[in-house]
Symmetry: C2
Subunit: 197 residues, 2 copies
């Protein structure tokens, strides 16, 4: 049904739930989405690549984008800024391409306010305890940063109801199958969501 | 996510579109639905089985069920009556079983009025011309019956918007995959539909 309008799929969930692994798995399957690369002022981690994981920008450049309305959404997360470049999303949708973006919970709910036709998927852990354990295993941050992240993750788990769908990330491949099922179902809707940007 | 409430899935579409083949294919895959068997006053066709395809009832018995409120929905289609036994549907849902019923377009829209939480799937042909060709190939009816059926099918195609989803039956197995995707997506909804009967 190629005549259905393109989807704007927003993949979110608490930090530590495995959003990156799910996204990577979807890319590995060669799925024909337009993958929105968000911009950030935080430092690149060792395994990350510019233009793939994020566009890493100096703070001044980020602020210019924000002030000139070039960001669909932006948010401060811990000490850094993250933003979604509006032009890229608009261009992809205009070309009729299904568009997928990964974003934190706060950002996702902001996008839903601005673009109600976006399809919001909340990736959740099998249990909250499981999420806490995953976060503690991370070695990239200080004890204080970890404590902040644990608190934040718990707050985020309480926002599931603001999303359209909840997908449990018990197994990455099973979670991807569910996300693909959601996309298929959305394309079968008799009243499709038409994104206006 | 076994804690989600059971679905009431209504599979419909114009006559000749291939509802029976899709239903049969789903049964062959061994899917764990409760399959509602509708009751009818029409004669059993050669390849049909009592209690599997329909419960074939004498008109008097059907009328007693209708008058005593034992039918969730009933309709006259051509010269015969069809009805959905309420007790069976209620029982299956109470047991937490996903429940699937096949019904004509008129009946499906009646069920949506009475049970807004039902998930309505409209099985549609690749093209209307394709449907007309399929109907003409049927050998079980008179020329007059065929003319009636062609007109009715065209009317039914105009009611797609009253359904939640439209699934094109280009290939039976592909159509089944889409229906299963819809079921998976419905079970991922953060605000699931809770059927009250």
């Amino acid at each position: 049904m190629s005549q259905t309008p393109p989807l704007l799929l927003v993949l979110s969930g608490p930090s530590g739930v495995g959003k990156d692994a799910v996204l990577q798995g979807m890319k590995t399957r060669g799925l024909p989405f337009y993958w929105v690369v968000t911009v950030t002022t935080r430092k690149r981690r060792l395994q990350e690549h510019e233009g793939v994981d994020y566009h890493f920008l100096p703070t001044e450049r980020f602020e210019r984008m924000r002030e000139s309305g070039e960001l669909l959404e932006y948010a401060r997360v811990y000490d850094h800024w993250y933003g979604v470049p509006l032009a890229a999303v608009r261009q992809a949708l205009t070309e009729g391409r299904d568009t997928l973006l990964k974003i934190d919970v706060q950002g996702a709910t902001t996008i839903k306010d601005r673009v109600p036709e976006a399809v919001l998927v909340f990736l959740s852990p099998p249990t909250t305890e499981d999420l806490m354990a995953r976060l503690r295993q991370r070695r990239t941050e200080s004890a204080q940063q970890l404590a902040l992240r644990l608190q934040k993750a718990q707050d985020e788990m309480g926002r599931t109801h603001m999303f359209d769908y909840q997908v449990v990330n018990d197994q990455v491949e099973a979670a991807i199958d569910r996300i693909l099922a959601i996309i298929t179902a959305e394309k079968c809707r008799t009243h499709p969501r038409r994104v206006r940007l």
